[in-house]
């Protein structure tokens, strides 16, 4: 009974002490939340396309088509103007008038004809690695877009050329039909005449198609379909026409079959012409779909991490400072002379700060869900479980910090180190998947790491936290509290 009274006395004292220090609560809870809130409100997840100045040779084709290029690149970069003077463009870049200078290659056509890639030079003035990465990606996308425009034009030309076969292919089909009729009638002379006309027409078609039909063949092959080029097929049909021997009794049937093949070939070419050049040069586009949960906007994605990190920071700091301050004021001497045991001391503080932590966690969750509109697809019970375990583990870590620290200042420093570690390794700033093996496991030294994963599962996937995260937090809580108990007993806090 005395133990219970002692534990409850400690819990009540801790709660009263914290509630009597509103500035402390504000500094620890509201302060970081306001800072993160301001960051979230001011952060631009989709920055506007960089303003680019295009440097093109005077009188070049690119200069003439600047407007067309700008339209094509509008999603990647915004062309703020064109100039032929690269030095002036560099000055404007240094003055901050534009974000990029895109220098079009001189003699691009000659370079490409010489079987070399022409380089589009993109100049920028950004030191920030993230900015640099963004510019590199934007520039790459813009050049891809340029390549697509060029290829699209080539495809369009090919389609137009394919259309130039005009009446040659139907004429060949009709001549083969006449040949078949003549052969059935036994008129070898007329059959040979029709055979000669059909071969000539197919030779014309073959010449006109050239390389243009290879686009369609490439698409078919990329998709895994077996396909010959249209040109090759026309050539085959022409050989087959020429190979028919009018004296052969089966010649009429062969001509009929050929007439059918040519009809199909006609359909194939019509199909090729009907395909958009843009589709031909960019037949594939990517689309993504989240298999469990819903796509979350960037600004709300970090909400669970913010809640967990703040909860960890608050209870850890309170726990650490509270124990150290008992030591520095001499209260621990009173406990040791009196009948207080280390277990009662820790249990009382744990209970007090757990109750405070529940209030803090409740406030933070209410804020992110009901005020900031962060989705909550999962169960509030699971959210409570994961937050409760995170809090228990954080309290354990706080007590260990208290055992290690000799002064209030040291406790604050250790708590801030824990916060710094948590910010970098808990997934708040960078995803855990970006950490190498070994370091990724070390990241779980911050209770917020497993806590964040678990709360994300609950809030965004609507699922229960993973067993691994629950186990990590449970084991962490038990081990840290036992370690803190042993260490504080050795330091004779009670």
């Amino acid at each position: 009974m005395r133990s219970l009274i002692t534990i409850l006395a400690f819990a009540g004292k801790e709660i009263r002490q914290v509630l009597r220090q509103p500035r402390l609560m504000t500094a620890l809870v509201v302060g970081p939340f306001l800072i993160l809130g301001l960051f979230a409100a001011g952060f631009e997840p989709d920055p506007p396309p960089p303003q680019a100045l295009l440097v093109v040779p005077e009188g070049s084709e690119i200069q003439a088509r600047a407007g067309e290029i700008q339209e094509a690149l509008s999603d990647e970069i915004e062309i703020a103007g064109t100039t032929a003077d690269e030095d002036e463009a560099r000055r404007r870049l240094l003055d901050g008038d534009v974000d990029l200078v895109v220098v079009a290659p001189r003699e691009a056509a000659e370079t490409i004809r010489a079987s070399e890639q022409a380089t589009v030079m993109v100049l920028h003035n950004r030191l920030d690695p993230f900015d640099r990465a963004f510019i590199t990606v934007s520039a790459g996308s813009a050049v891809d877009e340029l390549n697509r425009v060029v290829l699209s034009e080539v495809a369009e030309t090919a389609q137009a050329e394919a259309g130039d076969y005009g009446e040659a292919l139907p004429s060949a089909r009709r001549s083969v039909g006449l040949m078949a009729d003549a052969l059935r009638r036994g008129d070898e002379t007329e059959a040979r005449q029709a055979q000669s006309e059909a071969a000539d027409s197919l030779a014309t078609v073959e010449d006109q198609l050239g390389l243009s039909s290879d686009f369609l063949q490439g698409v078919d092959r990329a998709l895994g379909a077996e396909s010959d080029s249209l040109g090759g097929e026309v050539s085959t049909r022409r050989s087959e026409v020429e190979a028919i021997d009018a004296a052969d009794p089966a010649a009429a049937e062969q001509a009929e079959a050929l007439e059918q093949d040519l009809a199909e070939l006609e359909n194939g070419l019509a199909e090729f012409r009907s395909i958009s050049p843009d589709v031909l040069v960019q037949p594939f586009i990517a689309d993504t779909e989240l298999v469990q949960g819903t796509d979350i906007p960037l600004t709300t994605y970090y909400s669970p991490a913010v809640v967990v990190v703040l909860l960890q920071h608050v209870v850890l700091t309170f726990a650490a400072l509270s124990v150290v301050s008992e030591r520095s004021t001499g209260s621990t001497e009173l406990f040791r002379v009196g009948p207080v045991r280390v277990g009662e001391f820790l249990a009382g503080k744990f209970l007090g700060y757990a109750l405070l932590g529940i209030i803090v966690a409740g406030l933070l969750m209410a804020l992110v869900v009901f005020v900031f509109g962060t989705p909550m697809f999962g169960s509030w019970v699971w959210a409570s479980v994961i937050l409760g375990l995170t809090m228990a583990a954080s309290l354990g870590l706080g007590f260990i910090i208290a055992a290690a620290a000799n002064t209030d200042a040291q406790a604050v420093q250790f708590s801030m180190l824990a916060l710094l570690f948590t910010i970098f390794f808990s997934g708040l700033v960078v995803s855990l998947s970006r950490l190498v093996d070994g370091v990724r496991q070390v990241a779980y030294l911050a209770p917020a790491t497993a806590g964040t994963e678990g709360l994300q599962d609950v809030m965004f996937r609507g699922a229960a936290p993973s067993g691994v995260d629950l186990a990590i937090l449970l084991i962490y809580s038990i081990v840290s509290l036992v370690l803190a108990y042993v260490w504080l007993q050795r330091r004779q806090v009670a």
């Binding site: 009974m1 005395r2 009274i5 002692t6 409850l8 006395a9 009540g12 004292k13 009263r16 002490q17 009597r20 220090q21 004021t329 001499g330 209260s331 001497e333 009173l334 406990f335 040791r336 002379v337 009196g338 009948p339 207080v340």
Partner: protein, 319 residues
């Protein structure tokens, strides 16, 4: 009845500083006040920490309330009250909340706890300030709150480490009035202080210097030992010759005679009360008129300085 405290030849030396206490012997009866008096660093707090079990002695044995303090059980711990040198109070809590917490640590429940808090608040005259936060009350009041937290569970043995430290003389007297009252209730008090004058309130005094008890006894015993007896100051109406002064001293068996001016002299005697009439008759026989004769009670500050000086001189001579 057993003593409240029995310490035999206890020694504790801190490895870091080489300081501590050496060969401390104490036998303190229950219901008395022991004053551990000495300058800063003399070993007072270390002695208290050894007696409360906060430290283990390197050698020697300690029994407090019949038990080894390092192995106190919960029941024995609840018979002890402790006021550490630092306040050990919670500034954000009220006076009453601090008392309530201290009482709860000893297992006192609801109604009993409230009654205990009322009682000690009344005792230290802080009932009117009970709802004030501790960081809003004066230093003197804080010290009294500290005393109240040490008393709230009605311990029979109290260790008070400098309860009057930093207080003005009036507040010091008030605190000692409280302590004297506690003694009259039958409690045993072990009190450390730098104020030598507070020795007058104690039943026993242990004078500490450089980690050793250099004198132990009641206040009067210490005065006697410091001066070799009681002091009587004599002022002659006319100038007296040294042979006459010595003759009077011989009559009263003076241990020491000290000239204090052309007509004044101080005799150190075994008993001032019986010596004064003898001085008067001896002077009359010698034909010398006395202007004034009185017993001198030296201040404890002087007593302490004299004892420490003598101790250091002896120590120097031994070396």
């Amino acid at each position: 009845m057993d003593n409240a405290i029995d310490a035999v030849d206890i020694t504790k030396i801190y490895e870091s500083s080489g300081e501590g206490v050496k060969g401390v012997n104490l036998a303190i009866p229950r219901g008395t006040v022991l004053g551990l008096i000495g300058p800063s660093g003399s070993g007072k707090t270390t002695t208290v920490r050894l007696l409360t079990g906060l430290l283990s002695p390197d050698s020697g044995t300690v029994r407090v309330l019949g038990s080894d303090p390092t192995k106190f059980d919960s029941a024995t711990r609840s018979r002890i009250g402790y006021l550490p040198q630092s306040s050990a109070l919670y500034p954000a809590l009220s006076v009453r909340e601090n008392l309530d917490f201290a009482a709860a640590l000893h297992g006192l429940r609801g109604g009993t706890r409230a009654a205990a808090a009322d009682r000690v608040l009344e005792f230290v005259e802080l009932a009117d300030a009970q709802h004030q936060r501790v960081d809003e009350v004066s230093g003197g009041m804080r010290r009294r709150v500290g005393l109240a937290t040490a008393l709230v569970h009605q311990p029979e043995l109290l260790f008070l480490d400098e309860p009057t430290g930093g207080l003005d003389p009036i507040l010091r007297r008030t605190v000692w009035e409280h302590l004297t009252e506690l003694r009259s209730e039958g409690r045993t008090l072990i009190v450390t202080t730098q104020y030598v004058g507070e020795a007058a309130y104690c039943d026993y005094i242990a004078l500490l210097s450089d980690g050793e008890i250099i004198e132990f006894g009641g206040p009067e015993d210490l005065r006697r030992r410091a001066y070799g007896g009681e002091l009587v100051d004599v002022v002659f109406a006319t100038r007296a010759s040294w042979p006459i002064i010595e003759q009077i001293g011989h009559r009263i068996e003076a241990a020491d005679i000290e000239a204090h001016g052309p007509r004044a002299v101080r005799y150190t005697v075994a008993d001032a009360g019986s010596s004064i009439p003898v001085i008067a008759s001896a002077a009359e026989e010698a034909g010398i008129e006395l202007a004034e004769t009185e017993r001198v009670v030296p201040e404890f500050d002087d007593v302490f300085v004299r004892i420490v000086d003598a101790h250091r001189a002896n120590a120097g001579a031994r070396q």
